[in-house]
Symmetry: C2
Amino acid sequence: MAGRADSSKTAESSDKVSVICRALRRAIIEQALEPGAKLPEDALGERFGVSRTIARHALGQLAAEGLVELRRNRIAVVATPSWQEARDAFDIRIELERLVVRQLAGKLTKAQIAELNAHVDAEDRARDGTDAVSIRLATEFHILLAHMTNSPILVRYVSEVAYRCCLTLSLYSRPHSSECAINEHRAIIAALAKGDVDKVMALMHSHLDSVATRALVAPSPQRGRDLLDILAPYADEATGEKVVKLTKAARR
Amino acid sequence: MAGRADSSKTAESSDKVSVICRALRRAIIEQALEPGAKLPEDALGERFGVSRTIARHALGQLAAEGLVELRRNRIAVVATPSWQEARDAFDIRIELERLVVRQLAGKLTKAQIAELNAHVDAEDRARDGTDAVSIRLATEFHILLAHMTNSPILVRYVSEVAYRCCLTLSLYSRPHSSECAINEHRAIIAALAKGDVDKVMALMHSHLDSVATRALVAPSPQRGRDLLDILAPYADEATGEKVVKLTKAARR
DNA sequence: GTAGCTCAAACTGCATGCAATTCGAGCGCC
DNA sequence: GGCGCTCGAATTGCATGCAGTTTGAGCTAC
């Protein structure tokens, strides 16, 4: 483990761009910006005190991470992953995080274990707060683990895919229940400290899998990608007043 | 498998930027641009008939993929992964590609199997050509597999990490031997067609692992990240004429 | 001949400006 | 009242320009 460089930032070019990226990333995963929210370059630039050029660059980076959708000549929007993409993201995440804990099991210092425990404590305290903050903290626990591998590539991929999953959670799982997740985090820390590779990998697997299935109970066409898809089943009953109202409300 | 969108391009915003990205990506993995090669924005812009703004944006994307290193106020250079980063990339790649074949085993259409075989045939024909082309084709085989999962996220990650590994190969393994790889590819196709999940996962694992170990035989300080490191052992013998010549030659 | 210094050229960081495209409010038609 | 159309405002795509930083070639001193 010794001898590994600590080059924390993988890309994140210049300061101004990365500041905007971080801010937007956080806003997105805390649901301050919902999926589908518009992100005009002008507005971003003005808000962060930079030119459009920089805001544009930041949007490009976030698009590369899958948090933002960029279509030519159109306003950038916060990504709205489909149900299938969400499931794929979780599948990938499971494999990546199993790799993380495999590398980490039995190799954590006491200081690192303390840091992990402190983080989970913070998660615990945040249970009273908003769901958004709980979700963010839970996600950051996983990213913290990834950091401890000292593998910049792994950190990047785990972060990215975790953020994507975060986005999904905010889309598909309305009543988020993070209580159980906290206990699962504690169990993972314990198994890591004990150095039981197989057990910690299994724990991580089931943890993530249960988060995924809690969220993605069913293909859930509600809240799906496209309004038209949502309304398709109603189309048969034609001109129902409710349907019309819905389109108007949603269009705004 | 049905019902999955075919949205091939994940980010790759506007045309001009993505054209440059693709060109550079290919140049890098074919070693036309060696690790460490300078990539000035002006020159790129001029070469591709666009402004610096666009070239810059493209470099940003490639940096996000890990193919390019971007340091503030400095000329962008083709990334030079450390040995440890290379090993990490392969570890991640193994997990991701095991996931690919797990999803694919027994689910490929005849047309897809034919496509895969055709690709391997192309690899076979390319054995006479340059190493660079062989490496590229071998890499593209894996990306082709990823595409068949119809999972854009998986495609993106596999592509990225495969390109990174390509870069590594060009750094650390001078005499590339791709002959065996071709047979391994054929074996994987066969196992996929047969639908033997466990076998194909094991095959993919050993295939990638052997590629990695063939390349990364030892931490190999030669050809490493920094000239100074390479020369350190020679420093003791002081003022040897040879050493001086080396520095001059490399500096150009 | 070597080491250190200086300064101009090269390059990046960023903002601004213009053309092309999209968006959406308002208007006429059914 | 609802639907489609049209045109101005909003927005993106991209190039260019200016300021600050790095680079390295040439010069000087030893």
